[in-house]
């Protein structure tokens, strides 16, 4: 059992995985741990910085925006506010994957935003970022949609995403951001 988990992670180039409740402290600890790991392994400074930046946005995005399943929901055997966080490293890219529950009602809006971001050129992303930065809602959570634009800008690649239906109320939303390990790209 343990060996197959190990093998699976190795085959899929996963260097970190977490499933469970997401708290502010947890997000900080993960960030620190991965930063130390990148530092220790002598990754290129620019790549390291970019991976860290994208990771901060991805993890904080989940922390701020996941829709908690009610504890009584039959699809939630453990507890609410749980999510999946994964970080991997391939020959050419780092990838950061997050997965969390979202209310089905939010899907059309989320999907439209992601598609808009994925269609945008580098220059259009810059404009979109500035637009949302100046016009977006200014709340405790800080950013309405700015995070994903920033992830796309720093990633320089399309964002991967999927909505997996869970029941008539919730879906499981996964988001994948990639960061090139070739320093000059992006």
């Amino acid at each position: 059992m343990t060996y197959s988990y190990y093998k699976n992670m190795q085959i899929n180039n996963i260097i970190f995985v977490y499933q469970g409740e997401v708290t502010a402290d947890l997000v900080s600890s993960i960030l620190q741990m991965i930063e130390n790991k990148l530092e220790g392994e002598g990754e290129d400074k620019k790549v390291k910085k970019r991976v860290f930046n994208v990771m901060v946005e991805c993890l904080q995005n989940v922390y701020h925006h996941l829709d908690a399943l009610p504890p009584t929901d039959p699809t939630n055997p453990v507890r609410d506010k749980t999510a999946l966080l994964m970080i991997g490293r391939e020959e050419k890219d780092y990838f950061i994957i997050t997965g969390n529950h979202v209310l089905n009602d939010r899907i059309p809006d989320l999907k439209a935003r992601l598609d808009r971001i994925n269609r945008a050129t580098k220059e259009e992303l810059k404009q979109l970022y500035q637009e949302v930065l100046t016009g977006g809602e200014f709340t405790e959570k800080g950013t309405a949609g700015l995070g994903m634009i920033d992830i796309a800008r720093k990633s320089g690649q399309k964002l991967g995403y999927d909505f997996h239906p869970v029941n008539d109320k919730y879906s499981f939303f996964s988001l994948e951001a990639r960061v090139s390990r070739i320093p000059d790209k992006g």
Partner: protein
């Protein structure tokens, strides 16, 4: 006016706003989940400072990383500086970035584009 000094943490920058010694600096990283909570006292300080600013205020931003919720708050700081500047008191901003950090350079350019304030982009001298 009393200086505002905040020591850095692994999530928040070091802040020095010290009119007496003419030092206005933000340095380090800014990745708190609740960025508004961190920046609010700085807004309050700047609002007070705006009532009688120095003839010249030179503000340095020497940031390593920041998250998007900090970027909104940094814009709010710059807007306050812009209004001091518009009211006839000189304000200069220097935005430092590592030579190979295009992302931080680009963010500086974003702010340049959004504000009517002299923001100078400057490559950090490697220590």
């Amino acid at each position: 006016m009393q200086a505002l000094r905040i020591e850095s943490t692994h999530k928040t920058p070091r802040v020095i706003l010290d009119p007496e010694n003419g030092i206005f600096e933000f340095s380090g990283r800014s990745i708190p989940e609740d960025a508004l909570g961190f920046y609010r006292p700085i807004f309050d300080w700047l609002d007070e400072y705006a009532k009688s600013p120095l003839p010249v205020t030179h503000v340095k931003f020497d940031l390593e990383y920041f998250n998007t919720s900090s970027s909104k708050n940094i814009l709010e700081i710059l807007k306050r500086l812009e209004s001091i500047h518009t009211n006839g008191h000189e304000v200069r901003v220097t935005w430092y970035y590592d030579e190979d950090d295009e992302d931080m350079e680009e963010t500086g350019q974003d702010y340049q584009a959004l504000l009517n304030l002299p923001i100078e982009l400057s490559v950090k001298i490697q220590s």
